[in-house]
Symmetry: C2
Subunit: 225 residues, 2 copies
């Protein structure tokens, strides 16, 4: 099926999504670690628009945007389908993946780095969004059903590991067994899958990364005012 490469960054939850999908499909790939502070000519060649990771390169043809990459992987390697087969279920999966990126992840990230009243507002807003996810997963072991993980679980896969580190470094708690029992149980179930664990960056490296990220965002935010 041709040569497969992933241009990624080991701290990026968007890159890990892609690696999870390839491993679920049993697709062998070469992983190229990108230095985001000194971007390679290869990244600039393959993603001239956003200059961001991940980029999946299949037979020398590049694809960017992690959710578009997941769909490509699912359409190219048909075994172990990631998306459901039913058009309505597929639409729901796409809707919730977009919602989680735009409303849960972005607000959780704001809640992580912001301060004072702005932080409180972001936390409140993130909690409102997570409440929709809690309702969505009700009655199911995984977002994609009872027996196995799929596209939507991979899209939400930042919650158990990355969010947990954001919570620690940002001094806040968004997801716990009391506020969101079902979502919390999902994080446990998801985290237990060996293939999922395999691709996670070490927790201490992620803690360092988010400390750096917080300083960076705060200095950018300060410059804007």
């Amino acid at each position: 099926m041709g040569e497969v490469k992933v241009i990624g960054s080991s701290k990026s939850l968007f890159c890990t999504r892609v690696e999870w999908a390839l491993k679920l499909k049993g697709v062998a790939y070469e992983y190229l670690e990108e230095d985001l502070l000194n971007k390679s000519p290869l990244l600039l060649k393959y993603n001239p628009v956003h200059k961001k990771v991940p980029v999946l390169v299949h037979d020398d043809k590049p694809i960017a945007e992690s959710l578009a990459i997941l769909e490509y992987i699912d359409e190219t390697w048909k075994n172990n389908p990631l998306l459901p087969q039913d058009p309505y279920e597929r639409a729901m999966a796409r809707f919730w993946a977009k919602f989680a990126d735009e409303k849960c992840l972005m607000r959780a990230f704001e809640a992580f780095w912001k301060e004072g009243r702005e932080k409180e507002k972001a936390i409140e807003s993130a909690l409102e969004s997570f409440a929709f996810l809690e309702k969505q997963i009700q009655g199911r072991r995984f977002f994609s059903g009872d027996d196995k993980i799929g596209y939507l679980d991979l899209a939400m896969g930042w919650i158990p590991h990355w969010l947990n580190v954001m919570e620690e470094v940002g001094g806040m708690k968004l997801i716990d067994a009391e506020k969101f029992p079902i979502l919390h149980e999902w994080t446990q179930n998801f985290f237990e899958i060996p293939l999922i664990k395999e691709c996670l960056p070490p927790r201490d490296a992620l803690v360092n990364y988010f400390h750096f990220s917080m300083s960076y965002m705060r200095s950018m935010g300060a410059n804007k005012q």
Copy 2:
């Protein structure tokens, strides 16, 4: 194939996308105009998450987010495919549709309502994004190929009509034959298709709408500072 309804607003480019897609497929539907200043119980029931139009309701099952709706329509009614068949081409269509929404439309909208130095910055940024589209459509009559329009043309379909009104009301010019000859030619080709023209809101209604929208955004922006 069951009852099809569109909950929409006649000024919304996102709703027109959905109507175009249904008409291209020859799917009969009931159109329900929503008053966005006084949202109906039906909209709140069918899109409790975002409370926004469009919502496609098929056999009493609701789908929100215009690009997810286009994919649903394409997967449910297989005639006149909107997306290409090849997985790589499909990934490219999804990539560029997301890019156009996030980078072209959002920046053009900022360029429309902002003032002073901020407006200049937004114009500059929008022009940079449109330059990528100009390159993308090179050598083709439509985004989806030479002979017919598809998903990506519908996703870009706000450019000929809505952007033109934003330019007039906002006192700026982003797309013209000199700066972007290929994109400009596409707007002409796209606009000439009778089915496309049929669904467009009257220009004067759109001019009024954008005057209102500008006052609203400026008062919101002023309140934020």
